[in-house]
Symmetry: D2
Amino acid sequence: MSTSPSREVEIDPAHAALLFIDVQNYAARRDGGEYQGLSGSVLEERYGFFFRTLHDSALPNMRRLQQACRLGRIEVLYTVIESLTRDGRDRSLDYKISGFNVPRGSWDARVLDEIAPVADEIVIPKTSSSVFISTNIDYVLRNLGVRSLMLAGILTDQCVDSTARDACDLGYLVTIVTDSCATHSRDRHDWSLRNNSGYARQRTTSDIVAEIERLTGRRV
Amino acid sequence: MSTSPSREVEIDPAHAALLFIDVQNYAARRDGGEYQGLSGSVLEERYGFFFRTLHDSALPNMRRLQQACRLGRIEVLYTVIESLTRDGRDRSLDYKISGFNVPRGSWDARVLDEIAPVADEIVIPKTSSSVFISTNIDYVLRNLGVRSLMLAGILTDQCVDSTARDACDLGYLVTIVTDSCATHSRDRHDWSLRNNSGYARQRTTSDIVAEIERLTGRRV
Amino acid sequence: MSTSPSREVEIDPAHAALLFIDVQNYAARRDGGEYQGLSGSVLEERYGFFFRTLHDSALPNMRRLQQACRLGRIEVLYTVIESLTRDGRDRSLDYKISGFNVPRGSWDARVLDEIAPVADEIVIPKTSSSVFISTNIDYVLRNLGVRSLMLAGILTDQCVDSTARDACDLGYLVTIVTDSCATHSRDRHDWSLRNNSGYARQRTTSDIVAEIERLTGRRV
Amino acid sequence: MSTSPSREVEIDPAHAALLFIDVQNYAARRDGGEYQGLSGSVLEERYGFFFRTLHDSALPNMRRLQQACRLGRIEVLYTVIESLTRDGRDRSLDYKISGFNVPRGSWDARVLDEIAPVADEIVIPKTSSSVFISTNIDYVLRNLGVRSLMLAGILTDQCVDSTARDACDLGYLVTIVTDSCATHSRDRHDWSLRNNSGYARQRTTSDIVAEIERLTGRRV
């Protein structure tokens, strides 16, 4: 690299991918496994902001983003919390401790209907925070020729953040699509984006949709 | 490790696993995808020894081994050549060059009926020779608490050999179950075992079955 | 794991290690390479809190922690930002973009004198945020038999945080030694610890020193 | 990849590297640590062919290859068996079992004088057979932009072979420079090359030198 490289570069559509993180029934629906047993008032108190954000903006944005990538011929992948087994014995120690178990093939493991995978899209199950640590996604992305990686999903300050840092460390040009991510409070969302602004380019869904249109010459 | 460690140790059943490598329709049946288009005489000339070995000894041994592990409560896992996609775009460059494509969900990808997985057993798809290089199997085995890894399957001198070396490098106590492996010629089988005798303990299926019985106190 | 595992467990001294992260001239001294060219007033404004914290508490705590581990026969390791080359061509894309280059063998690469490595201690150079992503530390820790990993160093909310998450994902029982870490503001320090409390046990230096004494039966 | 890719492609000099494997005092000199305690007659009987091959052809070829790469501005790297510690506690279980210990900084760890590294060349210590399994070389090569990887060194059928397979799995276009490799017998050398011809392109030193000249337009 003779010229000074920068993180503030547009995606290279021919070598780009969008990764949805943990946008699944387990965590993204009030009736998902993560919230089992919680009363309506606890749900509202702890997660009210989160579900409203998902419903009002983050999910609509994710759908728009997904459509733009598909029309722009950009690879769309998904990672979900899902064990390789029903009994979860293959989970990381961390998930065993935390009590997360999303059995293989369960409803909880499925990507939300709103952005359901189609055709031959790839879904990678994981049992850790960072998909780069506990799966072969780096190998897969390398084989797909991906250099620009866009991230969307949940939670902004947990799995999305871990994934952004690790992807960045591995040489991907990472873009966090800010309003296609959500977490439990605005403060947590904002703080996370402030904290990893040194790792990843940050753009809104509208920014990225416009970028894809401009770069591919397609209406998306 | 204060005492001198050795490779010639028996498995620790509570921390052991058996991994079947590539024992799938694609490669282990005359009508498998790998042999598509070959005439009967070419099949016999190049692969006659291989299929006879599978039929006469290797597969019966694999069944015996699998049964012993199941009865001995030892984890049985499988890895198969299988892309994450139907079009194979996620394959390694090597597989693209070699022309191997086993589409996700295809008949070619399925483990042979003779040793079909049951219940909650784990099957890990791969698109490379060594499952340790291109999948998260090390992470999975670590989570399962595996220290002793037994290998069976095909080909003795290709994927089994690569896997044995890499597992050994990663600290697993590796046992190659010699007569539960097969390759295209006796010479290739023998030479491979001679070449990696420094990496892995080598035992016959009968040896291992007896070992499991002795160590678990169960009839297997 | 039949009983419910927990993160709130004491270290296992025979299988524990302390890892100092980035406590090196480059980043931990006012005359370090990271601050080159900055005026005294800018240094004070942006990093005043950081250097005061290092001087007043974090470094003295790190020394205490290091001594306790050494006397308790617990492995002490270090990771530093350091390229494998003088020209930095081996750095991650991220470091090239960020402008971080700490040449091999430079003064900037050296661990601070205050906690200088002795004897046969291990120093692992890295050119990314998480030492787990860009080095073979997981392989090394596995070979050392480490299960409990204690983290100290800088910055609490950047490299320490990334490392904690990734170590946790990989099955280590992680303890962040809170007052042996430092970052640029109290808010950033506190927020980070709040954010990864689900990943890692958090203890003060005094807590850990007392724990080591109790568990090893040694005066440390 | 729309056109059919091939393994039989020339290197891309701007994205190539030469890796010398284990060409160090420990293993490549009669007075190296690996042979300590062996009588002259045992040395001759077991390793006579090996040392003669090294002396007569393999080492001269390696020097020629190294020079050609340096003049052709192609990255030259080295991996050696070397622990991170003097006591070898960081070694893989396999090396502990095998008894290999090459202490950090020892004479045994040093690359042979005949092809000593110069300037800012990279030497990566390892304690396993495949440098891809136990070091961060994949991360380093990625950062260097390497796509074509040439391998030379020892032993053809052990570490060179493991490395070739793993590099191939990871998407590198691998060339084994056949007469710049050596092992204990001609049979072992030939058999190994026959066995991994499906993984790696195989060329002689003269072939590669000519290729570098042709592709770089430089006299090398």
